[in-house]
Every structure is written in structure tokens, then in C-alpha cells.
Amino acid sequence: MILKRISIFLTIGLFCLGLTVSPALAFKGAYKVGAVFSVTGRASFLGDPEKKTAEMIAEQINKAGGINGKKLELIVYDTEGDATKANLEVKKLITQDKVSAVIGPSLSGTSLAVVPLAEKYKTPLISCAASYKIVHNDKTGKPYKWVFKTPQTDTMAVEAIYTHMKKHGISKIAIISGTTGFGASGRGELIRLAPKYGITIVADEKYGPKDTDMTAQLTKIKGTSPQAIVNWSIGPTQVTVLRNWRDLGMSDIPFYQSHGFGSRKNIELAAGAAEGVYAPLGGCNIAELLPADNPQKKVTMKYLKDYMAKYHEPLSSFGGHAWDALEMVAKALTHVGGDRAKIRNYLENHIKGFVGQHGVFTYSATDHNGLTKDAFKMVVVKNGDWALAN
């Protein structure tokens, strides 16, 4: 009986706590930057490293004295990969927490849900998601005025792969992708760009993000005798598919992964099945392989060391997108202060040759992605580690 009453009071107490405690405590004169990532829920392995990276950068900046003496206050909300929640949270960041800029969301779905908000409330938003539709307004053919993004588009990853294939005389391929936004977006680009590189797609198979086995799909692919296979997914399935590929005796058909493969953890999990597999990777994934004169070498090596030291886990490719976004915002804040329109203008006009984790960025009025296909380098797995592919 008493236990029951205590629990009921506890429950009511929890409600009240949630009601009264507001995470956005007002620091006088701080620069406020909002962040929304899918830290839990679907695609949490995207949002988690992104949040960690953003918090790490904010901490580093504040330790070094802040931005022009003012503290950088990072307000992070978890979208759980839910478009509705992302929409609510970005609105809250803009109208209530009054942030100067927003970074994230992590997914294309959640990003597309908040693009109209950035435009409506005239707040700069730098998304960490892949789809080109985030920065491309179909109706005007120009980028959305207030929206930028840092990840390379799938277009660039696909072009890197197709360029490599063309160089090696591959013209007949099979594609297999996950039924998630990431997979569908890559598949769309693979299909769209194939004719440009003289490539014919002879098989187009799919699987779910939580599937245990892709042997059936690969068996079907085997029957079409392709010269190469391209897989587009993130999560454990990109490892399982490699094991199935080996088991079916198909390892003499070159296998290309997407840029989602970019973590040493994946090579480890594949338990040898990843040997000889190709992938297009951004600079931060192969920091150690970059030659000393590569412009990205310094920042990527530093990020690698800092992240490992703070979180004791190898860095993930996706965290790099958050690094790029927040560092750009920090740079804008340093130069023009906290006014939203000024930050937007700074990003569009003064981010030229910005050295980031995933490439060297140059934004302009017609390009709010800022990267070219050189942002990707083709890499091959050799002896259980990355090596530049030829």
C-alpha cells in the first residue's frame, strides 16, 4: 500500500521535474548554437558520434577561452530519427531557445522535415545528412537560402565508385541496398548515374536494416554474373552481406561498399571477409593514410587523436559531419557574431577552401554543399586495414 503511494508520488514528481527543468539555462552573453541528432532510436550510430563530436568541440572552444571571450553554448536535442520530433525540436531551438544557428539533423528524413522551418524562421541550418534534396530546391533549381549541409552527397560517392570501375573496365554490375533512407538514396544515384559511365545494372536487390541473411539476394545476383557488386547500407547488414558474399564463393567479383563502411570497426566485424573490398571514404576515415602534404592531414589527424582520447573508441565517419558543421558555425560566430542573417551570409560568401574532415569546403550562392567528388578517395581493405586503392 505504502509502496503504491510512493510510486504514484514518484511518477507525479517525475512529470513535474520534466515540466519545470528547462535545459536551456540562460548564460549571459553566450553564443547559442542548437543541434539535433538521432542519438537514440533509428540510426543511433549516426547521431551518437555526431553528438559526441559536437560536444567535444564545444568543450575545446570554451576551454580555449570561448569565441571572442564569449562562451559557446551548445543545446542538443535527440530526434530519435523521428521527423515529427525533429520538427518540434528545431522550432523550439529557433523560437524559444533563440539559437543563432542549428546543426544537424543526422538523417535525410528528419532534415527534409525541418528545411521549411529554416526558411520560414530565417535561421541558418547546417544539416549532417546526405540527400542532395536538402539543399536543392526543386522548384527554383537553386539551393534553399538558409540551409547548408556538410556530408558529401551520394552523387559524389557513386561517381568515385563509377570512376574507379570505368578505370578497371567494369561495365556490368549488380547493386544491393538497404531499404532505409541511406540505402534508397544511394540506390537512386547508382541508377541515375550508371548511363553516364557506360554501366549497366543487371540486378537490383534489397534487404531490411535488421535482416539476418542476404544469401537469397546474393544468389539471385550470382545468377546474373555481374562484373562487380555495389552494396549501399549502414549498420550490421553491411558486414553480414560481406560474409554471405564470401560464403557463396563470389569473392572473385569485386565488391564495393558505400561510404557508410568508413570505420575500422567494420573491418574487424567482418572477420576477414572484408579483404579486398573497395569503398569511397572521406578524409577523416583515412587520416593516417593521407600524405603529409594533403591539406586535410592536420585536422583529420587531430580529430582522430582527440576523439579516441576522450571517448576511447575509434572515430566514426559520421562524427566528422558534425565536426565540419560546428567548426564552420564557430568560425562564422568569430567573424560576425550571433546575428542569424550575418552568419548565413558569412557561410555563403566566406567559407572558401575551409579544410574539414570530409573535404575542403567552398560554399557559394549556387552551392550549399561545398564539396566536389575529390572529397572521396577510393580505398581498399588490405591486411585488415585501409590502403589507398589504385
Binding site: 537514440t40 537469397a216 550490421p236 566485424l269
Partner: protein
């Protein structure tokens, strides 16, 4: 690479379907145990599988126990979780209605999943295969040797459970609780204990499924839900409460998925299995091996 014929492909689809289906069958068996004693569906069943895999990873990779020791240790620990679930989530409910119990198991699964996320993080984990990773070829179709472990354990579990529920006193007592708990307690059966036992058993079997599956397809904190849905579907397809039905249901679902993916469209493969499930239900509302008369006298 040798070319593969259509017949060869179809045979591979069949073999893959059966092996994947055996995983669904194991989950379905777990559902049936709790159902047979309590008539409720435990939505946290998938989480037992997930815990089996991840806790095994902990014992093997962190505590560095040999596989043979880590296996029973994991099963024991997951069984404990099952017991806790009964004690903390099911037993305290005063006037249990079916919806309340379903929500309680859903709440439990949310909690377990959330805890797993905090403990193990969001990354997938791997286990070494029990008898190596070299694929075995059977009449031209390839199978991962680990699947033989899955199927082997499935057979042992089903036989053991059938003997347990049909031949032993405790097992019969457990079945009596589902049919009529009041009558059962009148004849001296401790209904609460039987329910506890059913959760413990179900958790143990879920753990075995998780441990044997992880070497094949890795394991991460949120794998449970999809496995639970497919296992539930398999249990329903075969007829709730029937262990042979669970096996049949699992194998059929796995095979339809695989055949559907290979022969028609891999994007829709899950839909094919579910459509077949719906069609079967419309003609035989209590599943393939379920009995209509029995399902009518059930309370839900």
C-alpha cells in the same frame, strides 16, 4: 566462379529460407511457452534474444570465459532477467487484463532495450562461430556451419519441451494454468510459480537463440523488435501454443521470405510472408496446427 543454374538458385533459396526460418522458429517457441501458461503474448521476447547475444559477448570478449562456460552463464543470466520481468512487471498487476499485460511487456521491452543501449552502446558485436566460418556445401547450396547449431538447438528444445509439457507433472501443471487458473489453484497448483517458470524457460530459450544467431548476423541493442514480430508471426501461423506449429510456422515464413526475395522482389520479401500469414488466417483462423475449438474456449 562457376555459373549457377535456376534450379541451383531455387535450392539455395530453399536452404537459406529453412535456416533463417529456424531462427524465427526458436523465437516462436519462446512465445508459446509463456502463452501456454498465461495466455499472454510477451512482447519482450525479442529482447531475451538480444540479451542472449550481447551478454554472451560480454562473458566471452570481456570476462574472457571460454565459449563452453560463457554459454550456460549467459543463459542463466538471461533467465534471471526473465524472472525479474515476471516479478516486477507481470506479478504486481492487480487485475490483469490482456491489454494491461501486453502493455506491461511492451514497457519491459522498452526498459530492457534502453538499458542495453546504455550498457553496450549502439554498435553491433560479433561472436566467433562455434565450429568455424567455412561455408559447407550441400548439394550445391551453401550453408554457414553455425546454422546447424541453430537447427540442432531448435530440435533439442522442441523435443525437450514437448516431453516436459506432456509427460511431466510440472509441465502438465503449467498447461493447466492456462486453461483455467482458478481450477488449477484449487487442485493445489501454485499458479504464480508456474508463471514464473514459464518466463524463466522462455527467457532461456530466447537466450539460446541469441547466442547461436550472433555469430551469423552480429547483434546490437535494437535487434529484438523485428525478431519478435517475425517470431510472433511464426507462432500464430503455426497455431499459438503448438510447438510443432511454431517450428512449422517459422520454417514457412523463412522460406517464403527467401523465395519471395529471390524469385519476385527482395524489397517486398517481408510483405510476402505476412500476406501468406493473413491468407492462412482467413481460412484457418487458429493457425495451421491450431484447433478452433480450443481457441474458442481460451479467454482471449
Amino acid at each position: 566462379m562457376e555459373k549457377i543454374t535456376l534450379a541451383g538458385q531455387i535450392f539455395q533459396y530453399l536452404i537459406t529460407g529453412l535456416t533463417v526460418g529456424s531462427i524465427y522458429a526458436m523465437v516462436a517457441v519462446g512465445f508459446n511457452i509463456i502463452y501456454n501458461v498465461t495466455e499472454i503474448i510477451n512482447f519482450a521476447q525479442g529482447e531475451f534474444v538480444m540479451l542472449g547475444g550481447l551478454i554472451m559477448v560480454f562473458f566471452y570478449a570481456v570476462v574472457k570465459l571460454p565459449l563452453v562456460v560463457a554459454f550456460p552463464a549467459t543463459v542463466l543470466l538471461v533467465t534471471l532477467v526473465g524472472i525479474l520481468l515476471d516479478r516486477l512487471a507481470i506479478r504486481p498487476i492487480r487485475q490483469p487484463t490482456v491489454l494491461t499485460l501486453i502493455i506491461a511487456t511492451i514497457a519491459a521491452s522498452i526498459l530492457i532495450k534502453g538499458a542495453a543501449m546504455l550498457i553496450w552502446g549502439k554498435d553491433p558485436y560479433d561472436l566467433p562461430a562455434f565450429s568455424g566460418r567455412n561455408a559447407i556445401t550441400v548439394f550445391g547450396a551453401v550453408i554457414q556451419p553455425q546454422y546447424f547449431w541453430v537447427i540442432g538447438f531448435l530440435i533439442i528444445v522442441v523435443i525437450a519441451l514437448s516431453i516436459f509439457f506432456d509427460r511431466t507433472i510440472v509441465g502438465k501443471a503449467m498447461s493447466a494454468c492456462a486453461d483455467n487458473p482458478d481450477a488449477a489453484s484449487l487442485v493445489g497448483i501454485n499458479v504464480q510459480q508456474m508463471i514464473l517458470l514459464s518466463f524463466a524457460l522462455s527467457a532461456a530459450i530466447g537466450a539460446v537463440a541469441g547466442i547461436t544467431v550472433t555469430p551469423i548476423s552480429l547483434m546490437e541493442y535494437d535487434r529484438g523488435a523485428m525478431l519478435a514480430v517475425k517470431g510472433f508471426g511464426a507462432a500464430i501461423l503455426g497455431g499459438l501454443g503448438s510447438f510443432p506449429g511454431a517450428v512449422l510456422g517459422g520454417l514457412i515464413m523463412g522460406t517464403i521470405e527467401s523465395m519471395g526475395a529471390g524469385l519476385i522482389s527482395s524489397g517486398y520479401k517481408d510483405a510476402f510472408a505476412l500476406i501468406v500469414l493473413l491468407v492462412v488466417l482467413f481460412f484457418k483462423p487458429s493457425g495451421i496446427m491450431g484447433s478452433i475449438e480450443i481457441s474458442r474456449i481460451k479467454r482471449f
